[in-house]
Subunit: 141 residues, 6 copies
């Protein structure tokens, strides 16, 4: 978080570290039949929808302003997610710029009848804070 | 957790305490337009659906067996949940019987542009562990 | 219905009996694949959502005022509901208080290729009538 | 029902009349925000989906065999269905042929805060009974 | 399109031909598990919903006015649509009246692992152009 | 498409060009209320879900084999997509490797009551062809 060290004094930085911690967002779900593709694994599009919702909440919780998704980075589907598994989607603030917020989102799968857990999908989502006319504003006051 | 103290020795109990901690389940969501009733607040039925899913995951994570909902207790809708708020649904193991598992589920609302947070809905869900023929089995081996 | 006998004269009571009869609400559905959990039975959360919608309509039809769910009583899942069966959700006014309305909701399952029918789920839902500021008002004028 | 009189003896006919009465199917719903088009009225496609589900259940309840929709007749949208109204979809057997079943489906709207009720949509759906290889079979044995 | 020839001069007609060509609308989808009935084929009601949405877009693109579905003609389900196939829904303007627009909609199925393609469903949908008070207006100025 | 020139002879290449043309996939939709976020614009996650479905169909149509999403590239949300607009999602094969297929997906918005059309979202999706055990296989035989 060097960037932050450079642009903010100690006190604000500590608030930011605390905001980052507080804004972490988790969503645990089960892969039911209405969510799977015709290979009996989670439809990739649903995974992306979940990731965007979690990223959006994380970003909103961090700056408490109206935010919009401006782009995503590369999103890797490391492992397919089988029907019936438990998944946890976790969103964390990865980098705080003046007007651009980077949120890292990971999806972990968890076997229902063991506690085996592994990362299945990972990617970054980028947000801007906007005013009521959707014009970009500063992330932090 | 007196019941547990009576029926299990120290070592098992500690595992249980740990299992209870590990099985806590959280789901954070935003109340979008496809989830609201015609009073512009979260449709109660959706809240119940979320609570049941979170309770089901919590119960599964606790005993790592096939579980089924057998009943709910009284569920209180303390506050209505307005359109656009962030909600967090939290499931925790409340009581462990020989064949019956009590899961407490709470829904908290969080204003998007402040960090005000209050409890909106709370209730208990009861689960039994079953074998492949849906016959009840012991929760813990 | 003693309560009613005490608080209303004969004529109003008869209207109420008629209103109760008129407000009975039925919803027949088929359990399709987008509604089932990973045990191939109806996801309990969907059953609760259906029950709340039917209860809400029954309550609205009874008092023709804006109503909100205030709580549920114990809800029993007597039998699981297999994929592919027909279900009928029935809502009836069970008790009329001054400001609190009790709606009983039952779910019956019906085999598609026989006429076997049995009760699967039952519970009560409680409603209050509210004004436009969501302040409680009398159920009946 | 002349057709029936010609092809069945008195006793069977009475069973049919009874089957027709028993197979009548009702579904009451509220038009929530996830069901409306961009004119704030019920999306016509959702109305058609509800009608087909109700018709399918009515047909299944009548002959207790696997049935498939073969066609619809003209479907009239007499009145648009505003957001927030209660709707009741009613399916009834209209005609029983040797291999073709005609189901009449009507949608009525009901104002939430009055008991005004009027027909909004009406149409017929046609079904055939089929065996496991989807080959047409007799409706009645 | 004789009707058109009679009621419009050459120049307008050409615009219409061009508008008809431009307004053709295509929607390609895959039949996932959340869309199938309990015979493992596409739920007829979903097919009707898709057809209505495509017809609505085609009609809107043609006259660029607020349109409402007034009725459908006979809709034929020639072949059932198996789970996992690709389907293409195609909407085309079939006839242009003074106040009534006829849209023809076809659903084609396409095998995923061959290029076999055949028509599965076909029907016509009728639309009227309306003003903000839902009063019928001319389709073309 | 130099890569292709290097690895395939003229005849195959022409088939590929034809396959690419044939596999182009279009999905036209209207942004209804069940699809929007709490800023009254299309929920970004829904846009990603649509793009993945269109990319998946394009990839399947191109190689007629079982394909899985392996990753996405950067996805740009150039313009937000307002409630009520028509959108067209277009998928095209962008690059054909030995085992990796790049699909470009664009979303265009179209005003309902004019023909104004502009690009709103764009990104690339990457697919691999796999056998029944989800082991990677050649895209083309």
């Amino acid at each position: 978080m060097q960037i932050i060290l450079l642009i903010f004094d100690k006190k604000i930085e500590m608030n930011i570290e605390e905001q980052i911690k507080k804004s972490e967002t988790r969503q645990v779900k089960v892969v039911f039949k209405n969510l799977i593709n015709d290979h009996n694994t989670l439809f990739g599009g649903i995974a992306l929808q979940w990731m965007d919702e979690v990223a959006y909440i994380t970003a909103t919780r961090f700056c408490r302003k109206k935010v919009v998704t401006t782009s995503t980075g590369k999103i890797n589907f490391k492992n397919s997610i089988p029907y019936g598994t438990i998944v946890e989607i976790i969103g964390k603030v990865a980098k705080v710029g003046a007007v651009k917020l980077e949120i890292n989102v990971q999806i972990f799968t968890e076997e229902k009848y063991s506690s085996l857990r592994e990362k299945a999908v990972e990617g970054n989502f980028y947000f801007a804070a906007v005013d009521d006319n959707n014009q970009p504003i500063k992330l932090l006051d």
